[in-house]
Structures are given as C-alpha cells and as structure tokens.
C-alpha cells in the first residue's frame, strides 16, 4: 500500500517514528512536497478561514495526495504525556480532513493518547499494524525499530542538527564554541522548520554566520525543570517545551537573542507569549523578537525586522566585549 504522510504539522516531530513503523511493515511511505506556493494556495482555498496558517498548510499537503496514494496517515495525537494535551487542532485533525468536500483517499488515524497510559499507546500501534499484517513478530520489530529511529532523531537534534531534513540530507551538525554568536529560534517545529511558513528564517540566519539553536536542542529534563517554576503547570505538552526553553535561555543566557515565531490565531501561543515576554522583562539583556506570521506575511517585512534585530544584537555584543 502507498501511504501518504503530509509534510506538515507533526511530521516535524514524529516522521522517523511513523515512517519507520510503516516501512518495517512493508508499506510504501510517500511524502508530500516541501511547502510551496501551490501548497499554501490549495490549503487556503479548502481550509476554514479561521484556522492557523500551519493547519492551512497541512490541508495543502493533504490535497496533494488526491488520486496519488492508497491512504493518508493522519494520527490523532491527543497527548504525549500524563496530564497534558496537544493543541485541540491535532485532536480534531482527522475529522477536519474527512469533512473535506473532495474525493480523497481514506484517512488512517490511530489515536495516540498517553494520558490514558502506556498500554493505550502501545495498543494504538498494535491496532495500526493489524491493518497491514497479523504477525506479532513483525509488529514488535516495527514498533521497536520505529522508536529507536525516533530516539536517534532526538539525539541528533540535541547534538546540534537542525530538523530532520538536515539530518537526512547528510549535512553537518553545528559545532558550538563559547565565543559564537547564537540566536535561539523559538517556536513550534512545524513553523520554524517549514521553509515557506518561516520564510527560510533559519537559513537566513545561518547565511549571516549566526549559529542557530532551537527548542528541540534543549533536553526534556531541562525543559521540565524550568517549566516547573510556573505557578500552574501548563496542560499543553508542546508549549511546555517552548516555555521551558525560553526560560532556560533567558535565565542561563545561553543565547544572545531570541526570535519567537508564532502563527497568528495560535491558541496556546497567544497565552504563553505573555508568560515568555514577562520573563523577558526580568532578563532584559536577552532581547526577544516576537514574529507573528500568517499566510499574508511578506518576505520584505521579515527581512527588515531581522536585519534590525541582528544589528542591535551585534552592537550589544561589541559593547559588551569592550
């Protein structure tokens, strides 16, 4: 069976896991193209007007699979750890896609919900594997290989690779020296790594010789420790990562500046932005630039703001060296 995985949203978090699992079970994994103008055009036409830009992009990627694959994999990722949720949109995504008024391939949507415990999570994979093969041996092998692949991916991110694509394209990990000029790019992986949504932000920074750190390069342990300083634990797991990272960078001064990328109308981000900016006020020597993006964002606007931000950081750095 040819199974399509849209190159959007949680692809940036779980692609190694999902694709290894399916490949091990003898399926052909087909990825949609890197986001381009057509993707966004299709997505904006078909998605509801009020959803955030990454979801619109997701629609675009899904529509690319029309008449091209036998099924589309859109897992319903409800929760990744105890007492948390992902964003509501991930919980409703398969239903949103099935409501499309288009003749689309069937959607395969296993529910991953770690709120209900590990057994439930494991069971979801077992059920998914039954669609392709009844063999428990094959399933166990696929399950463990898939998780190995995910762990390896996490490991490489911690080592300084930026995103899965970089790892697979065979480029080198960044090496960090103490004297390096570093900018922390903060935000959801599906925003900061998507070259179209982020307007190539990471590449632009690198071209200027700036080292880039992202929230995925901060270990979960550190995130947990920093996030614990909030009076009420956040109930969104991905935002926990963002806020924990922001607090860590601000408090340990690991970066020279932070660019916080958020999509317009993003629910969780609208609130944690307040918490991050307030923490920023208490650590004024690390400047934060919040970059709110939607499908109408223009490249020139980004370039101007980026240049101004970098100029300011350079001046600060020079002043501190003197």
């Amino acid at each position: 069976m040819r199974i399509g995985i849209p190159r959007a949203l949680l692809y940036y978090k779980y692609f190694p896991l999902w694709s290894t699992f399916l490949t091990e079970l003898g399926q052909d994994v087909v990825l949609s193209d890197v986001t381009n103008r057509d993707t966004i055009k299709c997505g904006v036409e078909q998605a509801d007007n009020d959803v955030c830009v990454p979801v619109k992009v997701f629609y675009g990627h899904v529509l690319e699979f029309k008449n091209k694959v036998d099924a589309i994999l859109i897992p319903r990722v409800v929760s990744t750890e105890e007492k948390t949720y992902t964003c509501p949109k991930f919980m409703g995504l398969p239903d949103m896609i099935e409501a499309l008024e288009q003749d689309m391939p069937p959607v395969i949507s296993p529910s991953f919900n770690l709120r209900l415990g590990f057994r439930e999570y494991y069971g979801a994979f077992r059920e998914l594997s039954r669609k392709f093969s009844d063999s428990s041996f094959k399933f166990l092998k696929a399950y463990s290989r898939a998780h190995q692949a995910l762990n390896k991916h996490h490991h490489q991110l911690l080592k300084g690779f930026v995103s899965y694509e970089q790892v697979s394209s065979g480029s080198q990990a960044q090496k960090f020296e103490a004297s390096d000029y570093k900018i922390g790019v903060l935000g959801h992986p599906y925003n900061i790594y998507d070259p179209f949504i982020s307007m190539n932000l990471i590449e632009r920074l690198k071209r200027k010789g700036i080292k880039v750190v992202t929230n995925e390069m901060v270990s979960p342990k550190v995130v947990r420790r920093e996030e614990a300083s909030l009076p009420k634990t956040l109930f969104w797991s991905y935002e926990k990562e963002i806020i924990g990272t922001a607090f860590n960078w601000l408090r340990t001064r690991k970066v020279d500046g932070i660019i916080y990328v958020l999509s317009f109308a993003c629910g969780p981000d609208s609130l944690i932005q307040v918490l991050i900016e307030q923490e920023g006020k208490m650590n004024e020597d690390i400047p934060i630039m919040s970059l709110v993006i939607d499908e109408h964002s223009a490249e020139t606007g980004l370039v101007t703001r980026l240049e101004a931000f970098i100029d300011m950081l350079t001046r600060r750095k020079k002043a501190s060296l003197n």
Partner: protein
C-alpha cells in the same frame, strides 16, 4: 475583603447570592461596556480569544471600584480557558494592581477539595456547612436557568413585543430574597405564573432556531448582541445549547438542558469522533440533535481564534451537505459591530422563511399530484 468575579450571563446573581449567604462583601464589575472591551484589548494579549480580554476588563473595572479579591475559574485544558487565570494574574500584577486571586479548579478529586477552595470566604464555617450553602446557591441558579428556558419558549409567541423581557425582569427580582429551597420553589412558581400571563398568539408557528457555540459568547448578552431577544422578539423560537448551571455542574447530566454530555458526544460521533476541548464536540452534537428535532436552522457563536469551535466550524460543510440544515457561523471579536451581525441575522432569517415556504409548497405539490 471585597470579592469580585468576571461577568458572564447570570453568574452575577449566583456569586452575589453566595457572598450574601456568607456575609462577604461583593463588588461586581460594572456591566460590560465599550470601556470594558477597550481595557481588555489594551492589556490583553493580541490574539487571545475575546473572553480573556473582556474578563481582564471586568477585573480592572472592579478593582477601580475597590475590589481586592478576584475569583476566577481554572481548568485542565486543552481549551485556553483553563489557563486564563494565570495569565490574568500576570498581566494585572504587571499593571501594578494589588489583589488576591482565588482560582477555583473543577472538582477533580473530591468534593471536600472543591468546597475547600471557598474556605477563604468563610474560614469559620465547616466544610459541610459550606457545601450546604454552595448547594443551595447552585439550586437557585438552576431554578433561574429553568425560568430563562421558559422565557425563550414564551417570547416567540408574545403579542406585545417586549412583554416577556419585562416579565423576566420581575422574575429575577422575585428570586432576590429567596434563600431556602422552599422560598426558591415558590419564586419559581410565581415566575412561571408571571410568564404564563404574557399575552400570546398561539396561532403562530414560529421558526425554530438552535444556538450553539462557545459558552461565554452564548451566555453573555453584551457580547452576542442579545441575540436571543433579537430573535425572540421577531417571533422566532430560540433553543440554547448551554445553560450556566449545566456548564458549572460537574456531572455532565445537564438537568436544565435535558441532554447529557454523553448523548451529545454520541450524536457528534459520525462527524467529530473525539473530544477537542471546550464545546467543540458538543457544538457538532447539538446540531445533529437539532436536525432530529426538526429545527429550521442553527446559529453558531464563538470568539475569533477559539480553537475547539474553529474545528467544529471546519466540519460544518459536511454536516450541511448530509443533513441539509442551514448554519450561520458568527465569529465575534472586539471589532464586531452590531449592524453587521444584524444584517447577517436578518438575511439568515429570510433564508429560513423561504426554505420553509419551499418545503410547504413541495408538500402541497406532492399532495395535489
């Protein structure tokens, strides 16, 4: 201690009632006005949903009037509402206000813990006494909701426009001094009599419109431009999908509404098979139920950027196609103007009437042929 709270529909009656029973001074925020909205927009996060901004405005205005203890509800997600209180606390502290904030979390573990959260208002009362008081308060709120439900039924038939609303005001006054359950029951009886006395045109067969959506926008008349009265006084029967005490009540049984959360979720299954936070799934479920009950149309209200309702809205095209019910989605934010909403509502009503006529004609046609 001067207690305040955010405004939402009839919640003011409930909390002031609780405060009177506990002998605590309540300082309700002034009624929501453009000033409230302006304050909320100025200090609230840019693309947070409207209820957050309005409630920030409420708190600021109440503190200007001397309030120093803010009561706010918590939650467990994934809807943003569960984290409102924390963000409000940060923003208001940053503005230099001095206050104590009491965040009431939903009863997760035990009733004792839940009741314990109100201890700050009455430290000398035992948990049991406090529980009895909260229950009595809740009972009053529930009864008021039942009266409100009756108001919606009566208004669609009223002969003299505005009579029902006047009667409803009188009903609310009847409840002011009702504290024991027998007093509340007799206030309810009197209210129903008052509403029954409203002159009605029984020959009407009003359009039936269901209202679904995010609870705050549905419950707060200032924010939804008093849509229930707007439709009711035009002779349209309005059925609401959420009542205040049903929403507060943890059981999910929804005694006022008469439809449990489970039944609603089941109705939503074919279209939205998973809980998505807030009322997202309930919105879809209620629409399906409205279709079963022969409603003419549905109006969907929600604040701009609301996550669960946006998901529900994404699924509407499929529902309309399958079930043939017209749905009007009204997205509301601080920029929404009354004139725009009224125009859309009028167009929607026209559409419903012409649809009904069409249906009747086709029925006549099939009879005559």
């Amino acid at each position: 201690m001067k207690v305040t709270f955010p405004l939402m529909g009839t919640i003011e009656l409930l909390i002031t009632d609780l405060c009177r029973r506990l002998d605590v001074e309540a300082v309700p925020p002034p009624p929501i006005s453009t000033k409230t909205v302006r304050l909320g927009v100025q200090y609230g996060p840019e693309f947070a949903c409207l209820p957050l901004k309005i409630t920030i405005g409420n708190f600021i205005e109440a503190m200007e009037n001397g309030a120093d203890t803010l009561i706010m509800a918590g939650g467990t997600g994934p809807c943003r509402f569960g984290y409102y209180a924390e963000v409000q606390k940060k923003i208001l502290k940053d503005l230099g206000h001095k206050f104590e904030m009491i965040i009431v979390e939903p009863p997760l573990s035990s009733i004792r813990d839940f009741v314990g959260q109100f201890k700050f208002m009455a430290p000398h009362k035992s948990t049991w006494e406090l529980w009895e008081i909260i229950r009595a308060c809740y009972y009053k709120g529930k009864t008021l909701d039942e009266v409100q439900k009756k108001v919606l039924e009566v208004r669609a038939y009223e002969k003299n426009i505005g009579e029902t609303s006047k009667a409803y005001k009188k009903c609310q006054r009847l409840f002011e001094n009702a504290f024991t359950s027998s007093q509340i029951d007799s206030a309810k009886k009197d209210s129903f009599t008052l509403l029954d006395q409203v002159a009605k045109d029984e020959t009407r067969s009003p359009l039936k419109v269901g209202i679904v959506g995010e609870f705050y926008v549905v419950l707060e008349p200032f924010i939804n431009f008093d849509i229930e009265e707007f439709l009711g006084t035009r002779g349209i029967y309005v059925h609401r999908s959420v009542y205040l005490t049903d929403w507060i009540g943890p059981s999910g049984e929804n005694p006022v509404l008469g439809l449990s959360d489970k039944e609603v979720a089941k109705a939503a299954q074919p279209y939205l098979s998973h809980f998505v936070g807030g009322e997202g799934q309930a919105t879809v479920g209620h629409i399906v139920k409205f279709v079963e009950e022969g409603f003419d149309g549905v109006i969907h209200l929600f604040p701009f950027t609301c996550m669960p309702e946006t998901i529900a809205k994404s699924i509407f095209p499929k529902i309309t196609k399958d079930l043939g019910i017209p749905i009007l989605s009204l997205v509301i934010d601080e920029q929404t103007g009354k004139a725009g909403v009224v125009t859309r509502l009028e167009a929607f009503i026209d559409l419903l009437y012409s649809k009904r006529k069409q249906k009747m004609n086709s029925r006549v046609m099939s009879h005559s042929s």
